[in-house]
Amino acid sequence: MPLDSVNPLLEIRDLSKHFGHNEVLKGISATVQAGEVVCIIGPSGSGKSTLLRCINFLERPTGGEIYLDGVRVGMKQHKGQHVAITPRELARQRSAIGMVFQTFNLFPHMTVLQNIIEAPVRVRGHSAQAAKASARDLLAKVNLSEKADAYPRQLSGGQQQRVAIARALAMGPRLLLFDEPTSALDPETVGEVLEVMRQLAREGLTMIVVTHEMGFARDVGDRVIFMDGGYIVEEGSPTLVLETPTHQRTRQFLARMIAG
């Protein structure tokens, strides 16, 4: 057994989240190893996105624990009690976890280059010059070098999402979360975004991807998690979960995906 499977990069223990009386997550436990690509699939309302948003505390979990590199995320022990960490500490933890959103959420009042250097300059304290140099490298990587001075609204959806990926990468994250990154895209631009994500996976970046792209999950995912009703129903290698699912609910979901 390799050493890093003893110390996972991310560990989630018995995570729950309620919105009022609505239980969205009902005790989720999972681990992610460094360099792993984990794809989360499941019907809408199954809690996939909420799980992702709990990992970087955009949603505060109701119960359970999250550890990144062995360090508790969002909470700490204080005089024997679990208390929330300070906003400053939370911001530092978040800077190590990148996130790519379904609707890109690029800052519309900034150019592409400004979008990418904003956090490195303001949060990490990098010089604008150094940040711009690495931003241009990242833009080259997502094939958008010529768009550095464009505003987000002048770009197609696929181009915007690639900029959003570059923006997240600029912080040098340990872990990158993707929340249905291709769901808001025109079909013809889905491929270019998936191609960038494939490349990141090849480079060994640790990624958790909530997706409806079964092809991507099968080809790129090291592991697939199927969620339904706030639980993890089934998880394992893509072949196992996608081709020989053991649970009735997984089979029904996959049948619907193929039919749709």
Binding site: N56, L58, P87, R88, A91, R92, Q93, R94, S95, A96, I97, G98, M99, F101, T103, N105, L106, F107, P108, H109, M110, T111, E118, A119, R122, V123, Y151, P152, R153, Q154, A164, R167, A168, M171
Partner: protein, 308 residues
């Protein structure tokens, strides 16, 4: 590009044939009647208007009005931003405190507030820095501290803060929550997120009503004439109180208010243009000059078309 394609056209543009010409003639006749009235009226006395238009007293009054407007708007915007952030706070006490301020200052007449601040010294004689209900370290006489000008600023500025807070709050609420989430997810603090991401986008919604407020302030600053502060209107009043040339001097004051409003309107256009960057596929909306070129060109070609 000759037409702005982002502006919806009015159904009036669809009126064709004789209807168009009837409308044009009616407007032309009404305009001619107005000009005739303005030029021939005995009450207006244009020579008197021109005599006082650039007189020392009026110019000084206009300067004081500009001063009051700029400073009171600065106070109002500062208080407005603070109150808006307070109203969006998670703390009930902070939210309610801001609500109470807004309720009070919007709920009482501005004129009463101005008179109140002018008479502040009759409520509080001495103001000082010290421990509440305990010893005082530094103190000043309110009568010396709150001059008529300071009273006017307090009256106009504190009242404006209540209105501006709602303008600012509407602006902040107009920004998609995904913007703040993206910023927080990058590790930006809440205050950086507000300053760098949310607020610059809120400005697009904040600027137009703020322009309205500034123009309103320009004219409501004339309310402080009741405290004998020599701003534009009071200066005009003090002249016609001696000469009984009431209408000409009110026209002098109004002309100055119109000029100042025009300046503010142009300023607003350019501020909007700046904060509108990135908001459309086109890089920036046209400058005023560029915007006027297209209609002017059409007006020129109008003659040509009829000549051929």
């Amino acid at each position: 590009m000759t037409e702005r394609d982002d502006v919806p056209h009015s159904w009036l543009d669809q009126v064709q044939g004789p209807g168009r010409w009837v409308a044009r003639i009616i407007i032309a006749v009404l305009a001619a009647m107005l000009v005739h009235l303005l030029l021939t009226s005995k009450t207006i006395q244009w020579p008197v208007v021109w005599q006082y238009f650039s007189s020392k007293l009026i110019i000084e009054g206009a300067e004081r009005t500009v001063e009051l407007t700029v400073l009171a708007m600065a106070i109002g915007i500062t208080i407005g931003i603070t109150l808006a952030l307070m109203r969006l706070s998670r703390s009930l006490l902070i939210r309610e405190a801001a609500g109470l301020y807004i309720w009070f200052f919007r709920g009482t007449p501005l004129l009463v507030q101005v008179v109140f601040w002018f008479n502040l010294s009759s409520f509080i004689q001495v103001i000082g820095i010290g421990i509440p209900f305990g010893p005082t370290f530094v103190s000043a006489n309110v009568n010396n501290l709150v001059t008529p000008f300071v009273a006017a600023l307090l009256g106009l500025g504190l009242n404006e803060g209540a209105y501006m807070s709602e303008v600012v709050r509407a602006g902040i609420l107009s920004v998609d929550t995904g913007q703040a989430e993206a910023s927080l997810a990058l590790g930006m603090s809440e205050s950086l997120t507000m300053r760098r991401v949310v607020f610059p986008q809120a400005m697009r919604v904040i600027i137009p009503p703020t322009g309205n407020q500034a123009i309103g302030m320009l004219k409501s600053s004339s309310l402080v004439s009741v405290t004998a502060l020599p701003e534009l209107l009071y200066s005009a009043q003090s002249i016609y109180a001696r000469t009984f040339q009431t209408i000409p001097l009110l026209i002098v004051a109004s002309l100055w208010y119109l000029i100042l409003t025009t300046v503010l309107t142009i300023g607003q256009y350019y501020i909007e243009r700046y904060f509108g960057r990135g908001s459309s596929k086109q890089r920036l909306p046209p400058t005023l000059i560029e915007g006027l070129q297209a209609p002017l060109r059409r007006l020129m070609s109008f003659g040509d078309r009829h000549a051929t």
